[in-house]
Amino acid sequence: MTFIVELIDVWKSYNGIQALRGLNLEVRKGEIFGLIGPNGAGKTTTLKIIVGLLKMDRGLVKVNGVDIYEKPYEYKKLIGYVPESVSLPDYLTVEEFLIYSGKIRGVSTKHIRERIDHLTNLFELEDKRRSLIVSLSKGMRQKVAIASALIHDPDLLILDEPFIGIDPMGQHLLKELFSERVKDGKTVFISTHMLDTAERLCDRVAIIYKGQNVASGDLKILKQLSRTGENATLEEVFLKLIEEAEVKSTRDEMLKRGRL
């Protein structure tokens, strides 16, 4: 089995809070992978460590076998990333921003023009090409950010809560896009709160809680792990697994205190 993303025993703390506690995670090539978990579970921290915006305290992260610390330039060129709250250069037009995104990712001049034509057409942004980003709605900005993450046609697309702020047509468009990319052998890695969407869209999911991977796999495996029965939804599976993880966490904490 070839993995495009590998996280091995990743630890991260900031401001005295332990965000990740030995997280292990594997994402296969050519799948839509979902990272789900309650607020503060460490989803965004995990994504930020993978894309290099945060530095882990210890552990190992590889994308397509490339270590982020050994070959950072080569590593980052494999990834397209869209954060949860998108901040874009308001002073550029949509076209200028896409040119900029392509240029800093080393896309050739000829390909930049082609990719911009393709992406603006795909995201229905043709009439906004000359508009300043400051004048765009939140949904439009999200589309521009996703277009810029795809400008270099990366092997791995990472999106933090991609459906927030996007209208139903836009959400449908995104789901179509993700499926198309997977057909082309690319990988899509999303974090989301929308469990029904994750259930329908993702090939596999990982449930993380308090910085640890509670369970991962396709829905069938998760149902077996949670013993929730054949007809259970991802939401029911999620709630059961989180409840068990909470019980385990409390028991571990009490044991730890007992020893002290």
């Binding site: 980052k76 060129k77 990834i79 040119i99 800093i104």
Partner: protein, 520 residues
């Protein structure tokens, strides 16, 4: 009209204004810095004014100057009405949707505006007290001056509010013509600033002229001020009537909302909002694109992108405006202090020295407000971050040095003075100032995140810049006082440039290292 509703609304609005002041120590520091920063200048101005009053025989020029300034204030206030009546977003959501009457809202709004004005005008109160003391004015004269200023201020506020309501309710061409005609008429007394124009507007009954005549009359101890006081009161009553009739209209559905920006709020969110507003304003001038993927050098490409930013966010416009002002100040100082141009190199060097320190701070602060939140794009792209640092630095240095160099060169040619001292200062302050400011900014973002306090960044940057510029200041002082001669002057330029390049190189490497270690 319900007084308790007006009072509650007034208190709410003032609390909104002052809430941000209480919330951040940086805001309080900013207010204290603002007040005490202006005091030395106001003290000097009050001394100069009181001396001038004692020596002046002809009071007409004083009336002309004062009425010109007052009239410009009126023009400014009424021109604000051209965008219609604006309210803050929180007011539109919370207040305008409640069962409050337009007049109740307007009265509370007017008084809260007056409160915020008085907080900002607090150095002017000290200035007023100094003038009263230095000129030994009687209590009755001092109170009459205060009353006249208050009447004039209320007239301004009432006119601004009423014109704004008219503009919001009737958005046709006729309204614009009406407002613009009023502005045009009020511009006549401003012609007093150009003293040679033979216009006898001081004889015309403008509110600004009445105010000027009352103040100057009271200062010079004249007693026939009844007509002027009646004239000013008449305009006050007229504006009040206009205000009362405008406040009868339900203008709530026609207002436009703006984000709430408190002048005391120094948070990053507020700076971003202000920058967004600035981009919207400057983008109205047209969007000319110079960014194309054909650029072979990534450095040139990135510099073009930075140039677009400073153009569209208004930084370039501010620099040009500041240096136009600087050259005016430099030439007027030398003109007023001496009949010959001996003083010009000193005043030019001083002004350039002060401005050159603030421009890098402004450029870097504006970059932080508009672009530091977008660092995730570069940091996740796999680009060479050092190229980005170089592009930023080179753009800042070229912008902060080119315009002053042109100003210094032009003034030196016109007045035939030696440009070496101001040139040395401009070049080195620009190079060292830009690299120090960016170094401190990135260092503090690395330590404290994007929301690191701006005031702290500004203060540390200024101190470090001055420290590193000490050798340059010494060299400039020697050049100004001793005059090195041509060969030594050029040598001193070479030495200073070499020193500045060295500092810039060292700091740019450190900036590159720090950017890699930023966690977002």
């Amino acid at each position: 009209m319900r007084i308790h509703v007006i009072l509650n609304l007034y208190i709410f609005k003032v609390k909104m204004l002052l809430g941000t002041l209480k919330a951040s120590k940086a805001s309080i520091a900013l207010l204290i810095f603002y007040t005490f920063g202006l005091l030395p200048g106001l003290f000097g101005l009050s001394l100069t004014l009181s001396n001038a009053v004692r020596e002046t025989v002809d009071i007409n020029p004083c009336i002309e100057q004062l009425s010109s300034i007052a009239s410009l204030l009126m023009v400014f206030a009424i021109s604000l009405a051209l965008r219609g009546y604006t309210v803050f977003e929180y007011e539109q959501n919370i207040i305008l949707t409640s069962p409050i009457k337009p007049r109740e809202y307007l009265i509370a709004d007017t008084f809260s505006n007056l409160t915020s004005l008085s907080i900002f005008a607090n150095p002017l109160v000290i200035f007023y007290l100094m003038i009263v003391y230095l000129l030994k004015l009687s209590i009755s004269s001092a109170l009459l001056i205060l009353l006249s200023v208050l009447l004039f201020t209320f007239t301004l506020l009432f006119l601004k509010v009423s014109f704004s309501i008219v503009k919001s309710l009737y958005r046709g061409v006729l309204t614009n013509i009406f407002i613009l005609a009023t502005i045009f008429l009020l511009l006549f007394p401003s012609a007093g600033l150009i003293s040679d124009l033979p216009i006898g507007y001081t004889l015309l009954p403008y509110p600004s002229t009445f105010l000027a005549k009352i103040i100057v009359g009271l200062v010079y101890g004249l007693d026939n001020l009844i007509i002027d006081l009646t004239g000013l009161s008449f305009y006050f009553l007229l504006s009040l009537l206009f205000f009362l009739s405008a406040s009868m209209k339900n203008f709530f559905p026609s207002v436009s909302s703006i984000p709430f920006i408190s002048p005391f709020d120094t948070s990053m969110r507020m700076q971003n909002l202000q920058m967004e507003r600035s981009i919207r304003v400057f983008s109205r001038m047209g969007v000319i694109s110079i960014l194309n993927p054909e650029s072979r050098s990534i450095l040139v490409f990135l510099m073009k992108k930075e140039f677009i930013r400073v153009l569209r966010e208004g930084s370039l416009f501010t620099i040009i405006l500041l240096y136009l002002l600087a050259s005016l100040i430099a030439t007027s100082i030398s003109g007023s202090l001496s009949q010959n141009q001996q003083i010009l190199p000193y005043s030019l060097t001083f002004i350039v020295g002060v401005y050159s320190l603030t421009i890098p701070l402004m450029l870097v602060s504006n970059w932080r407000a508009s672009d530091s939140g977008n660092l995730w794009i570069q940091l996740t792209s796999g680009m060479d971050i050092y190229a980005m640092v170089k592009a930023l630095l080179y753009t800042f240095i070229s912008l902060s040095s080119t315009i002053p160099v042109v100003v210094v060169a032009v003034l030196s040619m016109i007045y035939k003075v030696n440009p070496v001292a101001p040139l040395i200062l401009t070049i080195s302050t620009s190079m060292i100032g830009c690299s120090v400011n960016l170094y401190v900014m990135i260092g503090l973002i690395k330590l404290k995140g994007i929301g690191a306090p701006s005031l702290l960044i500004g203060l540390v940057s200024m101190l470090l810049s001055i420290l590193l510029l000490t050798p340059v200041y010494i060299l400039v002082m020697l050049e100004l006082n001793l005059g090195f001669g041509d060969a030594r002057s050029w040598l001193s330029i070479v030495v200073v440039v070499a020193y500045s390049i060295l500092i810039t190189k060292i700091l740019s490497k450190e900036i590159g290292k720090n950017i890699y270690n930023i966690e977002l």
